[in-house]
């Protein structure tokens, strides 16, 4: 039977509930505690413990591949910390840094202090480290040095705004600052540290004993563009390899989101990485891991009012047609549902609608390049990364697999990898065709 107005209103609400791009705020009814599964490590708990056990200050690195729920989990961490009496300051790195440009420790230190200064003012304008913001302090510092800054001729009111803009979007200005600071790095670092110390003192004067956490989000977004990807990745790698300790902030627990590939190029660095919900075991048959699947079903259930899932699918059991294929990724799961809702012409939806949605989501993974399929085939077989080396090209390619969900990052005790269920058949087909003598003969052509 055709859809009634009420059916369409119902479908619209479910469609909105299934938005794959909405980060969930703490306490959101849609949030499913996926890391509460027995035997699963909660990354937020890991970060929280890292902070809580460190008393005065610490540095936490947090990461996850695209669509793994970083922002949602970071917001959960913020809430948990606040509930336990911490003062949490949050800042979005992309408001200060151009992710398409190379980064240097001097830029980062300046930006960290400036962002902290802004975040503090937002949380409590009455707390101020000194009579001036960090930006004003830094501008004064620049003006008292012997460097000529033709780029910024500012009015007293606009100068800070223009300074931020120039740091972010004027490469020539940033390069001059980098050049100037390369000889004064210790001076800059000391100045920044002093600023943090002053800020903490000011906070403590009004909120005695309160612990402070500074979350610097989106730093992992720095990855350059088509024209400079290698250079930018190298600059980030250099930053963490040479200057990691400089990211420790005095009296502050600093949480940075960092690129997930850091663990491949710098294995000794301690990064908490979000893993995919595990739906099967690391055995040749990929036997179902029921708690994982149950958890994903709950992710779905939470987005429906009572009876809603039944109304859409007819039977709750049909949920598995989507959950088993989502690879443990929420966005893929939500996209599968959305695709079906878009096609629904009757309620409950038909098998054809479910199938059409699966075909659509699968097609977004295709075509798979021949060489990629061979690598993916090895991952499926060995359940290991198969990274041949840690050169920027290899790391970038493997990261692309993880970011596009071709490859899943899984953990149960130890970490392992597998390929997305939606591409298994296609990868197998390409791998098999590669093994056939006809194609082997064609290769020299």
């Amino acid at each position: 039977m055709a859809l009634t107005l009420d059916d369409r209103a119902f479908l619209k609400q479910v469609y909105l509930n299934m938005d794959p791009n909405k980060a969930l705020k703490p306490g959101d009814a849609f949030y499913e505690p996926i890391y509460d599964i027995h035997g699963c490590t909660d990354p937020v708990q890991l970060l929280y413990s890292g902070i809580d056990f460190s008393e005065t200050e610490s540095r936490q690195l947090f990461s996850g591949f695209r669509g793994s729920g970083k922002t949602t989990e970071l917001l959960r961490l913020k809430k948990k910390l606040e509930d336990n009496g911490y003062l949490v300051l949050y800042s979005d790195a992309l408001e200060y840094i151009n992710p398409a440009e190379m980064i240097d420790i001097s830029d980062l230190l300046i930006v960290l202090a400036g962002a902290f200064s802004d975040a503090l003012e937002k949380v409590d304008p009455n707390i101020r480290a000194t009579h001036e913001s960090y930006w004003t302090r830094f501008l004064n510092y620049l003006n008292t040095t012997s460097v000529t800054m033709d780029e910024i001729k500012l009015t007293p009111v606009k100068d800070v705004v223009e300074l931020k803009f120039a740091l972010k979007d004027t490469p020539s200005f940033r390069q001059k600052v980098q050049l100037m600071m390369s000889n004064r790095l210790y001076e800059l670092e000391a100045q920044v540290r002093k600023f943090f110390e002053d800020s903490v003192k000011a906070i403590r004067s009004q909120r005695p004993n309160q612990k402070i956490v500074f979350i610097f989000d989106q730093l992992e977004q720095i990855r350059g563009s088509l024209f400079n990807e290698r250079e930018v990745i190298s600059s980030v790698e250099r930053l963490f390899r040479l200057h990691l300790d400089r990211l420790n902030l005095p009296y502050i627990h600093a949480v940075y989101t960092v690129p997930p590939w850091l663990k491949f190029v710098y294995p000794t660095v301690d990064v908490v990485i979000l893993h995919t919900v595990r739906q099967w075991c690391n055995d040749p048959q990929r036997n179902h891991h029921e708690p994982g699947n149950a958890c994903l079903s709950q992710v779905v259930n939470r987005r429906f009012e009572a009876g809603g899932l039944q109304r859409l699918l007819g039977s709750k059991d049909r949920t598995t047609q989507f959950t088993f294929l989502c690879g443990g990724h929420f966005r893929d799961l939500l996209r599968l549902f959305r695709g079906a809702i878009q096609r629904a012409q009757t309620l409950p939806i038909t098998d054809e609608v479910i199938h059409a949605s699966i075909v659509d989501v699968r097609s977004t993974f295709l075509p798979i390049a021949h060489d990629d399929a061979l690598w993916l085939g090895k991952i499926a077989e060995s359940r290991a990364s198969g990274l041949p080396d840690t050169s920027p090209d290899s790391v970038s390619r493997f990261t692309r697999f993880l970011d596009t969900h071709f490859v899943l990052y899984l953990r149960n005790g130890e970490e392992w990898y597998d390929i997305h269920p939606l591409i298994r058949d296609e990868v197998e087909r390409i791998v098999k065709s590669n093994a056939s003598p006809q194609l082997a003969l064609q290769m020299p052509l």
Binding site: R8, L11, K12, Y15, L16, D19, P20, N21, R66, G67, D92, L94, N98, P99, A100, Q218, Q221, S225, L226, F227, R331, R335, R338, G339, I341, Q342, R343, Q345, T350, E352, V353, A356, V359, D360, S363, T364, P367, R400, D403, T404
Partner: protein, 632 residues
């Protein structure tokens, strides 16, 4: 959006915009709130334009606007981030539309490919800003290859995609049609003589109490006209028959069902598919009431309704009916109806992009037909399997099946099946470069199309033959065929086909040195493009006219047309064509003795080619410049 398509190209767009996939896209706009990112994949720019118009119309219903930020040139696409980040948040936009559809065979494909890559690479860093800046759905429209470009070049943006809608598989690549399950084969000798039936009917007109009898005769005449593919006349007869039966409040439900079914078939013959749905539904309902669910007539009516829906692109509804028919046929042990269902389900699966499953079902159909020795079904199964294999590039297997189809069609005297077999065999052979064999088959197909009055088939046949003949240097013969094709396009009202046909004819005329005629035709082409609002076609027309005029020594006029061409290139933002225009302009100025202008045009062209990173063209222009220096 047109509701009553008449030409084949309109029909294709018509089907596309009624496909499940497009319906799903529109549903997104009904349900979504706030920012989202979607990607539509289409094979050609004309269809993107249809989609834009349809979406615009759809949004207008809820008082929303579509903001079209489609780049006028590849250069603009490289910097697409700028206009996107300047979208006015306060306007009531329902969609931001960015379309640049360039198929891989397009002469400027590489230029646009690079532009898509660079445009998305630049855009990727602004994902969060886009989410904040654009309060509605951001839609990109490109050819199928764009998906991989976005995935690779803009991984952050890709990670927040809402949907990807490939509208590619909604229409076939080459000629083949859904299996039709009509009452009798085309050209049946047992069909009624329509004129005779009408003459008999005329005796009954105006006679009270004879309405039902008159209706039966009219229905019979209709079936006779259907057999001759005279659909307009058939439609008239069935309509009159139905009006009489309804007015008479008859309980002759079987007659009513026949007339509804006949009318639907006639409307389908006239390509008025939407209008055919209601009579098909009526026919099915009447059959159910009369004969029950599992009766062969009910199963046939169900199958025909499903076919109509499938041809309209309403595949999901069609599939539900095919499945029902399958279950009922199975239940009643009706293997004949079962094989129809398998065959038609296979075609829907093909449209859904599931060729392997489709082939499976067509093979099931084949087994049943072999078991029943049902040659009609077998012939269709071979034809449709061959189509799937052709589309998958398995041409040898396809050719094998097409030959089997040919044998069976000959045996059954199914001329429609036979001409399709010849046409598709020719297509395979042509793609292998076996032109002579292809041409022979095309000649046979032509004869059959004429005999059974298949004008669409004939149109396709003429242009394919002309292509081969021109490649052989037999432009005169090619031209003759294209002239015939032109007449057919005019008859069918296919204006888009007509303007492309004109260009084909111009090429032949130029090959033959008949420049005055080429010029006259280009004038017609110009007028048609102006009518249709095809700026790009118009640009091409002016350029070709200028080239022809130069060859005729009419240099002043050539310059005037180059100026028009230049203005259009600038208007379209088409830098590559602008450079070509200047390059072609230079020899005209040179022949006018104006070496300074010639040099200036060449230098400007060279600058643009350098800017577009087209080194080969740049070198060629440099050589022309060097030659000009030597001469002066």
């Amino acid at each position: 959006m047109k509701s009553d398509p008449t030409s084949r190209s309109e029909l294709r767009e018509f089907a596309l915009l009624r496909s499940d996939q497009w319906h799903a896209v529109l549903t997104h706009f009904d349900y979504n709130e706030g920012f989202s990112f979607g990607l539509i994949l289409v094979p050609e720019a004309a269809l993107a334009e249809q989609c834009r118009a349809a979406l615009s119309e759809h949004l207008a219903k809820s008082g929303k606007e579509l903001l079209d930020l489609s780049p006028p040139s590849a250069e603009a696409l490289r910097h697409i981030a700028n206009p996107l980040l300047s979208v006015d948040r306060n306007r009531n936009f329902g969609a931001v539309w960015v379309s640049a559809v360039v198929p891989t065979f397009h002469p400027e494909y590489e230029l646009w490919f690079a532009a898509w890559r660079e445009g998305f690479a630049r855009l990727n860093q602004y994902r969060n800003m886009l989410q904040r800046q654009i309060p509605c759905t951001l839609v990109f429209i490109g050819a199928a290859w764009v998906q991989a470009v976005v995935r690779t070049m803009a991984p952050d943006l890709w990670s927040v995609r809402s949907w990807v809608a490939p509208l590619v598989s909604a229409f076939p690549l080459h000629r083949s049609e859904r299996a039709k399950l009509e009452a009798g084969p085309v050209g049946s000798h047992d069909a009624p003589d329509p004129e005779f039936a009408l003459a008999e009917a005329n005796h009954l007109r105006g006679r009270a109490g004879q309405e039902v009898a008159l209706a039966r005769l009219l229905s019979r005449a209709g079936r006779g006209f259907l057999n001759r593919n005279e659909f307009e006349k058939a439609s008239e007869s069935f309509r009159e028959s139905l009006a009489l039966l309804i007015d008479a409040h008859t309980d002759e439900l079987a007659a009513l069902a026949d007339s509804y079914a006949g009318l639907a078939t006639a409307l389908e013959g006239l390509e008025r598919l939407e209008a055919a749905v209601q009579p098909r539904e009526e026919a099915l309902e009447l059959s159910r009431r009369l004969f029950g669910d599992t009766h062969e007539r009910t199963l046939t009516a169900m199958n025909k309704l499903a076919n109509t829906l499938a041809n309209l692109g309403r595949l999901e509804e069609a599939m539900v009916l095919y499945k029902t028919q399958e279950a009922l046929s199975f239940e009643s042990g009706n293997k004949l109806a079962l094989q129809w269902s398998y065959g038609n389900q296979g075609l829907v699966l093909r449209d859904w992009g599931r060729p392997e499953e489709a082939l499976e079902l067509l093979k099931k159909q084949m087994s049943i037909c072999l078991e029943l020795d049902h040659k009609e079904g077998l012939q269709r199964s071979y034809a449709n399997q061959a189509l799937l294999l052709q589309e998958s590039g398995r041409l040898e297997e396809a050719l094998d099946l097409l030959k089997k189809q040919e044998t069976l069609s000959l045996e059954l005297n199914d001329k429609s099946g036979l001409e399709r077999s010849y046409g598709n065999q020719a297509w395979v052979l042509k793609s292998w470069g076996r032109m002579e064999e292809a041409l022979n088959l095309l000649k046979k197909q032509e004869a059959l199309c004429v005999e059974i009055r298949d004008r669409h088939g004939l149109q396709w046949n003429y242009s394919t033959q002309a292509e081969i003949l021109r490649a052989w240097g037999r432009a005169e013969e090619g031209l003759g065929l294209l002239n015939k094709r032109e007449t057919l396009c005019l008859e069918l009202g296919d204006q888009d086909g007509l303007q492309w046909g004109y260009l084909g004819e111009v090429l032949c005329l130029q090959d033959l040195g008949r420049l005055d005629e080429a010029l006259a035709l280009l004038k017609k082409h110009e007028a048609l493009c102006l009518d249709l609002g095809l700026k790009d076609g118009l640009r091409r027309s002016y350029g070709s006219q200028a080239t022809t005029l130069r060859r005729l020594g009419r240099l002043e006029e050539a310059v005037s047309l180059r100026q028009k061409e230049e203005a259009l290139c600038l208007d379209l933002g088409d830098r590559a064509s602008l450079a070509l225009c200047y390059w072609n302009w230079a020899p005209v100025s040179e022949e006018q003795g104006d070496h300074d202008t010639a040099r200036q045009k060449l230098q400007t062209a060279m600058g643009i080619f350098a800017e577009l990173n087209m080194p080969e063209q740049r070198e060629a222009v440099q050589a022309a410049l060097d030659r000009l220096k030597t001469h002066t």
